[in-house]
Amino acid sequence: MAGITAGGGRTSGRSGGRVVSRARPARVPAPLAAALLSLAVAWVHLAYAASHLRQWWAYGAFFVAAGAGQALFAPLVLRRPVPAVLYAGIAGNVAIVLMYVLTRTAGPPLGPHARVPEPAGPIDLATTAAEIVLVGVLLSMLDARARRRVLDVLVAGAVALWALRLTGRLP
């Protein structure tokens, strides 16, 4: 994630067997980036909670839960960026992204709009993109092995989604 670092503003690199110090533009520390992204997507979910609550209490509840979870995650990841918190952030955001894909393809599983896909719009697409970036930032804070494991799971999920779509099982 260019511009985001899990450490500080300067990094060192190896060149021709010598360790050299390279000046890089100031970077946002990863926990801060994650917190800001999480707050941004939380704001969107909370802003749209009322209109979804109007449609059905459970739709609204999902938005409130998603928004509140993301809002609370921001200080948590700033103060305690430990693996358990990072895993929770990744799992929560991936779940929200998957629910989004479901509602825009097969439609919400329950409620007055059950099985009716909602059209995707610029705001929700941008929010989902931000959530994917947030997952990437959180991944960058994990150690290499854990990160690889999580990414393999994400790839498997994406393969499954594309397979469902290409076989027509996902409208």
Binding site: G107, A144, A158
Partner: protein
């Protein structure tokens, strides 16, 4: 720690699924719009010959019921010359086959949903619900939006046909997808005759012609494009009449009666003859008007029906009379949508019978004889866009669903006369409002009189920009929950729909008769058909209908009516099982009693 290139690729792959799958549907629509057939490649107006949808034939008949079986299927049809357009049609055609029935004869229409599970381009899950628009059907046969039939299922709709002569239509009403379903072609006419109408000297037979008007938009390869412009409306650049683009109809020098139906999803029309001559409106949604109304323009909202008489006698042979669309406000007009079709005066009249417009047509229509003083309640309903939603009095169909289908906006008693004030305070859109079950009389528009051609029984009223329209109606003859909604089908799908309940104890609109899985059992007529009940002897179109049975419901009657008896024989598993059980019981009884016959003694 930073993400490696491989990590980024993996994350990007996940992101592609998360973003591209949802965006695919919008992309498809945008690509289709970009690929819209240019006006230069559309057929020139009046070059395609006119056609009339075929009349449906019953698959069987019983003493009092005609049985139809209609399959909703996808089929390629030639709408634009030389191109095949995939449509969804009743029996694979659009408009579907016209059902013609005399008053007093019931119909059972089996709707087999054989549509694809997913719409091919819009990618939504498909279901259907069939509404016979203009019929006072029982709640479970009214095409209740949430009473939907999934692909692979069927439903037997039963229609009483006790109302007076009128032009009805059957069309899709599936919750949230009515607009694209109807746009794909699920719409057809249904004509109810009665003795009074048939006895009038107005044009009948080949001079009584359906004109089902609809707009559509096509890609360069002929596929339909559905673009609801952000849930506001679907407007096409091609005007179809009976499924043909801007057709030309040869006419004789005499009067014709045209049954106009606006089957468009969102487009209203302002119809006028290119000659500027007046034409005569003799019927509205609920049948013939008390008296004819002459007009030079006709504002024509979605789902409205008007019966108009055009007299071509005054035109010399060779004259072309164009039916124009002057375009009411708040429609998306194209350079091609200003004309609808043409009438080519081709011959002198072959028949001069039934070539009149009586000064009084239908003076005894009960709805038109209602007086505002009979109303026991006045209700006010506001049709409004608020919070990004289309609402009626702040309510939507979501509220109905969330209440378990119990929430109602009105609960008139059976037989109550009420005034409803329908308000559209916006200037940005119009709402043709359809109240199911009832016919109503338009009392006024913004306090002024209704348009002259609206002075007949109606079930859809054009509530224009900044208008408040008062309508008067008697609730009945059925009890139960019925829908009211905007007939801009895009508005309806985005929840501008509510329900009211007439009386108490009505059938549940969903649970009372649910769709069943196919294969459907065969439909059979009466096996022991007596004389006079054979298919050929029943009153058919154009013939005098059988007189209604004593005590049978008549249009507008507010008396509670018993549920129409089902005399239909559906031979299937259940019937066979029942018969076997009866046989078993009989033989058991025989064993118990010996082979006793009446009068035998032990």
């Amino acid at each position: 720690m930073e993400l490696s290139r491989r990590d980024l690729l993996k994350l990007g792959f996940f992101g592609s699924a998360a973003l591209m799958l949802p965006a695919e549907r919008i992309a498809r629509t945008q690509l289709a719009i970009a690929d819209r057939m240019p006006a230069s490649r559309l057929p020139q107006p009046f070059t395609v010959p006119f056609a009339v949808p075929p009349v449906a034939t019953p698959v069987a008949r019983t003493v009092d019921t005609d049985l139809y079986s209609i399959a909703q299927v996808e089929a390629p049809v030639e709408i634009l010359p030389g191109l095949k357009t995939p449509i969804w049609g009743y029996n694979g055609i659009t408009p579907g086959p016209t059902i013609v029935v005399p008053q007093g004869r019931k119909t059972l229409v089996r709707q087999l949903c054989n549509l694809p599970a997913v719409h091919p381009t819009l990618r939504y899950n498909v279901w259907s619900s069939t509404h016979l628009h203009g019929s006072a059907s029982l709640p479970e046969y009214d095409g209740y939006a949430s009473d939907f039939t999934n692909p692979g299922e069927y439903k037997d709709y039963q229609y009483p046909n006790f109302q007076n002569a009128r032009t009805l239509w059957y069309h899709d009403h599936g919750v949230h997808i009515t607009a694209p379903n109807a746009y794909m072609g699920l719409a057809a006419m249904y004509i109810l005759h009665d003795q009074h109408e048939l006895a009038l000297p107005i044009p009948h037979g080949i001079y009584d012609v359906p004109l089902i008007i609809k707009d559509a938009m096509f890609t360069s390869s002929g596929e339909l494009i559905f673009d609801d412009r952000g849930a506001s409306g679907m407007f096409g650049d091609v005007i179809l009449v009976n499924g043909r683009p801007w057709p030309a109809m040869p006419v004789q020098r005499r009067k014709y009666r045209f049954r106009l139906l606006n089957a468009s999803v969102s487009r209203s029309y302002l119809l006028a003859l290119g000659t500027g001559d007046p034409f005569t409106v003799i019927g509205t949604d609920g049948g013939l008007m008390p008296a004819p109304a002459e007009t030079t323009t006709l504002r024509f909202g979605m789902a409205e029906r008007y019966e108009v008489i055009v007299d071509f006698a005054k035109y010399p042979i060779g004259t072309r009379v164009v039916l124009q669309n002057l375009g009411p406000e708040n429609n998306a007009d194209f350079e091609t949508t200003g004309v609808v079709m043409a009438f080519d005066v081709a011959a002198d009249a072959a028949h001069t019978l039934d070539n009149a417009i009586p000064p009084v047509i239908n003076p005894d229509n009960e709805v038109m004889r209602l007086a505002p003083s009979q109303a026991v309640t006045t209700r006010h309903m506001r049709f409004k866009r608020e919070g990004g939603q289309w609402t009626i009095d702040g309510q939507t169909w979501e509220d109905v669903v969330n209440s378990g289908f119990t929430r109602v906006v009105a609960d008139p008693k059976l037989g109550d006369v009420e005034i409803w004030e329908l308000e559209n305070s916006s200037n940005g859109w119009f709402h043709p409002v359809h109240i199911h079950l009832v016919d109503f009389q338009i009392l006024d528009r913004n306090g002024g009189p209704p348009l002259p051609y609206e002075r007949g029984p109606k079930d859809v009223v054009y509530v224009g920009e900044g208008e408040t329209v008062r309508v008067l109606m008697r609730f009945g003859p059925q009890v139960g929950r019925y829908m009211m909604h905007c007939h801009n089908l895009v508005h309806e799908d985005h929840d501008m729909m509510v329900q009211f309940e007439v009386g108490t104890g009505g059938h549940h609109p969903i649970d009372h008769d649910r769709p069943k899985h196919q294969p459907a059992p065969e439909l059979h007529g009466d096996e022991d058909r007596g004389p006079g009940s054979s298919p050929s002897s029943g009153p058919g179109p154009g013939r005098a209908p059988a007189p209604a049975q004593p005590g049978s419901p008549t249009a507008g009657s507010a008396k509670p009516k018993p549920k129409p008896k089902r005399k239909v024989t559906v031979k299937g598993k259940k019937v066979r099982k029942r018969k076997a059980k009866r046989k078993k019981r009989k033989s058991r009884r025989k064993r118990r009693t010996g082979s006793r016959t009446p009068g035998s003694r032990r």
